[in-house]
Amino acid sequence: MESTAQQPHITMISGPVVKARPAHRFSMNEMVEVGDERLVGEVIDLDEDLATIQVYEDTTGLRPGADVYAKGLPLYVELGPGLIGEIFDGVQRPLEVLHEKWGDFIRRGKTGTALPRDRVWQFTPSVRPGAMVSPGEILGEVPESQLITHRILVPPGVQGTLERIVPEGDYTLDDIIAVIRSTSDKIHELKLFHRWPVRKIRPYRERLVPSEPLITGQRVIDTFFPLARGGTAGIPGGFGTGKTVTQHQLSKWADADIIVYIGCGERGNEMTGVLVDLPKLLDPRTQHPLIERTILIANTSDMPVAAREASIYTGVTIAEYYRDMGYDVALMADSTSRWAEALREISGRLEEMPAEEGFPAYLASRLAAFYERAGQVVSLAGKKGSVTLIGAVSPPGGDFSEPVTMHTKRFVQCFWALDKELASARYFPAINYLQSYSAYISVVEPWWTEKVGSTWRTLREKTINILQEDSRLQNIVKLLGEEALPDDQKRIIEGARFIKNDFLQQSAFDPVDTYAGPEKQFLLLDVILHFIERLADVVKARIPLFRAMEPPVVAEIHRLKFTQRGDDPGPFRSIKEQIDKEINALLHRQDS
């Protein structure tokens, strides 16, 4: 009995929460293994002699008295080549490996390493022995996928003289590729990968103010509520309003170097959908399969809830790691509400004092800390990289006044509010343009005017004015009908209809419409606004507006988004000419 009294053991089990005693062996956030099956867990509370542990696997059958083993380090991820194209669960267990090992269903227990040890990587060193190296410095390169060159970094915290580095050649993750002697004569043997605790932000040299757009290929986003590299965005919306499709669209088309997609407590089939689509789709810029730049984290709703809580951190740590290599990373988290609910569930089992709606009082600070990990930075090695965070929010009952939406709103710079009414009319993306906003408009404006079109700003403002005027008029229409409006106001309503149908609406499932590059966005809007402006002439000439809807060019405008990719401005120009010709003819007929 004496010997086991020292070995920590379980005293209580309630769902994913386990208590163990004695607690002095553990430190806060330390990784532990629980029971004979060595289920992975993390210490989340230490109170006198009792440790509270959240277990990342199903606890059925676990018994009081079973041993708990301290692992001596906090919950970490493995960072190194082999991440790209892979799918992991919330605590970085590789799902493909699990599938080979256990078959179609996920069991619990030991699984081996996150990154494969038998795979061989071709390493090319870029520093010479004898050099002084500091944390984050690049030691060499490994081609990880057709798209991504993996830069091998000196782990944060390690610096000194490079005693030895292997020559160019093939190495596995177990091989020692470099030896560094620190000033205090400590020897560090480095491999192609290192470990990093997930809850700790990775260090960088300097934080920059976001200054470039992250183009998503989604018109309503890029033109009206743009995102910046290193920025943050929240997508709230009730069920079925399009959060997942929007995030899938972004992971397909956003012009980031790396995509980290986290399915946090959502559907299994959605992850399967991504796994099926991404290898087939080609990056519009590089023509390589999109999977070559993507890392997936899947902790679906039926997988253990504590691992769901961890999945967000696993994802963002991986994102920071690629940022440190100098890449622009975009991370999608679908859905942050499920992460918050996991917090709530664990907190409830700890019998903590709940704040709003049963959520723990630290919900806001945890959310803030998560979005704080976004940013454009100069890495320790002096490279510019960024992490852009895009979180879906699933408010209960679609009510945006609930805690997770409210707090998210405080910490994100873009807010893409999805609207149930639009979604039910199958108007997609169902982004409500009156409720949504972006704080990056002035940030991205110079880029657009310089690279795409000098009139970008006026074009955008004119469009917004029409939409706002339209929504004011719609209130009258609701009460009196459209017929009650004078023709110049009808023109606004008719014009707004063109903007909504032919520009804002964008089908994720149409092969052409699914992605619209900046040039196409600009050209398309330019055509539509030109038409709306010409409608003013029609009204001035007292010609009934419906006559202006009859010329063949109207159908051509509707078709543009489905037929043109925007790399050639020719067709847009000729449609503008056709508009002039046909409207002029209309005016002319009236005159004579």
Binding site: M12, T60, G61, F239, G263, M271, R344, G397, G398
Partner: protein, 474 residues
Amino acid sequence: METVTGPAMKGALEYIGLDRISGPLVVISGVRGVGFGEVVEVVPSDGQSRQGRILSISEDVAVVEVFEGTSGLAQPTTRVRFLGRPFEIIVSREEVLGRIFDGLGRPLDGGPVPLRGERRNINGLPINPVARVYPQDFIQTGISAIDGMNTLVRGQKLPIFSGSGLPHNDLAAQIVRQARLLTEDEGFAVIFGAMGVRHDEAETFRRSFEESGVLKNVAMFLNLADDPTVERLITPRIALTVAEYLAFEEKMHVLVILTDMTNYCEALREVATSKGEVPSRKGYPGYLYSDLASIYERAGRIIDRQGSITQIAILTMPDDDITHPIPDLTGYITEGQIVLDRSLAQRGIYPPINVLPSLSRLMSDGIGEGRTRKDHGDLASQLYAAYARARQVQRLASIIGEEDLSATDKLYLTFAREFHERFLRQGADENRTITRTLELGWELVMLLPEQELTRLKPEEIERYGRIKRLAVSH
């Protein structure tokens, strides 16, 4: 406290005496060597054993939920046996199909207790997302509002959101009778899990299965309205365990009907309240989402396995409120929903499906060229846009009167009427082909002027629409 190891139950631990009885829970102290989530037999002095499960366990206290309820249990004399294993059932094709069981899987039809087969934990295991196949085989239900606008595919979980007194049972039964795949007809089974439904409702289903001649392919698990409430937590899991076996071992296409999930959730709330847990919305536990997901996610298809599980859960929305936590969390997990509407039902329209809040998320991959027809997606989208607009016009008309509407708006009113009467409304035995449904759809959209048809491509209007216009104008 007395501890005896029951001679009859090898490996089981038996204790006598309960510390506390609270709602459906009993608390036993001095317990050692038992595991979280394991099954328990609770035996009162009359010897009628009941089943239960360990909800939480500490060094000396076990909290147990008793499925059949605690009524009649006496503290000092009740015996508790810890069986040292999770809740399991025995599954096989022969001993389960064509049978009727109670909510805990015990025969109700006088037949034998299933013995020969595979023992399975009723909680199942999560399917590895890597092992899933994205569902995309169209199932024709013969119901226009579903096939045309909210298509069901094999392996989907598509619940019916209903209200008390609405014809959700008729609709579900019609789907079971008519559902078939366009391309093939292989081995299929229907698993029916009832939680707290009335006797006559269960009987209606049984008769409907019998009349359509599928009874031998059906297994029914019935927890009826007067059966113990906590048992409802087990019933859907048994149903799904059987379904998983049939789908993934016996290669069958399985349709699982679960009704009524609202009763299930209420049972969950009852247990949570008895445990004194901090509730979240409307008194439901904070883990309602995860708990429901552990049921709904047990649907789909798996690589290299031929069968599939399609899940139609039925729930009644309290006060017809779609934002109530039960429909809300369900909608957040399932792959869409079919929403029934009281005002349509009151106007005598069957099936009273309100298409606007309804959705099938797997539709886009299940339809189109080679599956249904090329124009299907755009037509459905146009029907949605037109119907949404038509409903707005109806509201406007009720304010300013029909006469003052614009000519176009008047056409939208006609559209709404025709949509309700010709597209939505159909007989309980009317089985429309997908081609017929699409034709009806085209007839409706062609009531509108062509420049209103912004979701359709000109060549589609040319090909499918113009004929309709001619047909209508004659």
